[in-house]
């Protein structure tokens, strides 16, 4: 097993450029063995740059890996970096089921072969009013959806995170129900912006960022981008979603980034990009309106928050 723990620890203490060089050397040596293997910190072969990427400055790896809302591993954003360290992400399977003609269970190697890996540099806006820019590595969710051939009755897609209370003892204090569940409308799920991410900054996902595979829906608040997915189910009815179950008045099913609809407890008009002193205005659909606004034509987004 190449590229294990010690290397991902270097990345925390070594300046990015230095360790990247070292990593490139190591990766070169091990590429044959490690290619397309999803081990936290393993270098990934990225075939494509995406036209959907933003050119905004990227948030540092240090921030992306030490400021995580991942309540299975604690409600304090500093906790997941420590408490998810030994989370077991291999072997891993994602069961894809429900209203599809070809239900299947994918292991990670199968998932990695579905489509060439792309880098997608996306804005990520948390419902709490902060944002980051993340160079995700992944492939469109639609590549997986095509494999299972949804039936015409499939109107929604329900996602479920891994949950293991022995590996996630802090989860009992989170105040929300587990396993974490999320959902998308089918047209949102097949949208080209919707990504299944397996890495960031050129490497397999760190555990605290949702390893080994997570959803990224950049025009919605971050909690829609469910982490560590084990199940994807195609359904006819709008599926339950974790934060909506916890506090329906505060978190809706759609949860599109929308500066004109405040969260009951705070304004959504502005956000703080981590690393910046002043707040910046929040953009409708997090700046992805050109791509996604048509999905919601005619809908009252104040009601469907």
């Amino acid at each position: 097993m190449p590229l294990k723990r010690p290397i991902s620890v270097w990345s925390e203490v070594t300046p990015k450029r230095v360790y990247l060089n070292r990593r490139r050397f190591m990766a070169g040596a091990m590429l044959a063995a490690a290619a397309h293997r999803l081990i936290a910190g393993a270098r990934l072969n990225v075939a494509l740059k995406s036209p959907f990427s933003t050119s905004e400055p990227q948030t540092s790896l240090d921030v992306i890996t030490h400021y995580n809302n991942f309540y299975e591993f604690g409600t304090d954003k500093a906790q997941p970096a420590n408490l998810a360290r030994d989370f077991k992400t291999s072997p891993w399977t994602v069961s894809v089921e429900g209203a599809v003609s070809k239900p299947r269970t994918f292991d990670l190697d199968m998932l990695m072969k579905l489509a060439p890996l792309e880098e997608r540099i996306y804005r990520h806006r948390c419902v709490e009013g902060w944002s980051i820019v993340v160079p995700w590595i992944g492939f469109p969710l639609n590549a997986l959806i095509k494999q299972v051939e949804p039936l015409s009755s499939a109107k929604f897609v329900a996602f479920q995170s891994s949950f293991d209370h022995r590996q996630m003892p802090q989860a009992q204090w989170a105040g929300i129900a587990f396993p974490y569940v999320e959902g998308l409308r089918i047209d949102e799920a097949v949208h080209p912006l919707t990504l299944l991410a397996v890495g960031l900054y050129g490497e397999a996902l760190p555990n605290q960022d949702g390893a080994p595979i997570r959803l990224v829906v950049p025009w919605k608040y971050g909690f829609k981008s469910i982490k560590s997915i084990v199940k994807i189910r195609f359904v006819e009815q709008q599926p339950p979603t974790t934060w909506n179950l916890a506090t329906p008045r505060e978190y809706g099913f759609y949860s599109n980034v929308n500066p004109t609809v405040d969260h009951p407890r705070w304004s959504q008009a502005k956000e703080r990009r981590l690393g910046e002193f002043f707040k910046r205005p929040t953009l409708m659909f997090n700046g992805y309106g050109d791509q996604v606004a048509s999905l919601y034509a005619g809908m009252d987004l104040r009601k469907n928050y």
């Binding site: 309540y71 709490e128 204090w173 989170a174 929300i176 407890r265 703080r272």
Partner: protein
């Protein structure tokens, strides 16, 4: 023990200790979201000092150490001090002194309304904390006025409860502390009334 409690050096030491959270905040890296770190630390210490202030009277009685009274004003003023830093952080680093936005927050957001109430109530208490004001108001009226600290602490707890997303351990812990301290007072004033 009693002499030690009353010693000038002890009082200076407690004063310096009460500044430690501020020193800690100034000396440590503030993490990925510095404004959040400062807001949370100052909010936590406002509430902690309110609880400590409320604990002085019960502790004096329970431990038979009346000289602890020497620390009550200092602790209360530190609650006000950290509360001011907390409020200032909000006004400046969160809202950049956008008055319209702030007023909207205070009016629209229950958690801000509660925090604001808790802080505003501390202002007259801080102002009238001097010996001169005790004389001017008279002990009885001064004590009545300073019972507002109970409301302030409760408002602080409600503020905290309303602002957390789902993990209510912190708010419930402080709620329990404040409730115990207030029940102790209710009980002891009931008893002194019935024994009269």
């Amino acid at each position: 023990m009693r002499e030690w409690i009353s010693a000038k050096t002890t009082k200076v030491a407690v004063f310096l200790l009460a500044l430690a959270p501020l020193a800690w905040l100034a000396a440590h890296p503030l993490g990925p979201n510095p404004v959040e770190t400062i807001t949370h630390a100052t909010g936590d210490w406002t509430l902690r000092f309110l609880v400590l202030t409320l604990a002085v009277t019960p502790l004096r009685k329970l431990l038979g150490l009346p000289e602890l009274i020497r620390y009550r004003r200092m602790l209360g003023l530190f609650a006000f001090f950290y509360g001011s830093l907390h409020f200032l952080t909000y006004l400046w680093l969160d809202k950049f002194f956008d008055t319209a936005d702030i007023l909207k927050d205070v009016y629209k957001r229950p958690f801000i309304t509660a925090g604001f109430t808790g802080f505003v109530l501390l202002i007259p208490l801080a102002v009238t904390s001097t010996a001169g004001w005790i004389l001017r108001l008279g002990g009885k009226r001064w004590r009545m006025l300073h019972r507002l600290v109970y409301v302030s602490a409760l408002a602080g707890v409600v503020h905290y409860y309303w602002l957390v997303k789902s993990d209510v351990r912190g708010p419930l812990l402080y709620c329990a502390l404040v409730v115990v301290l207030l029940l102790w007072r209710a009980n002891s004033s009931l008893r002194s009334r019935t024994s009269r």
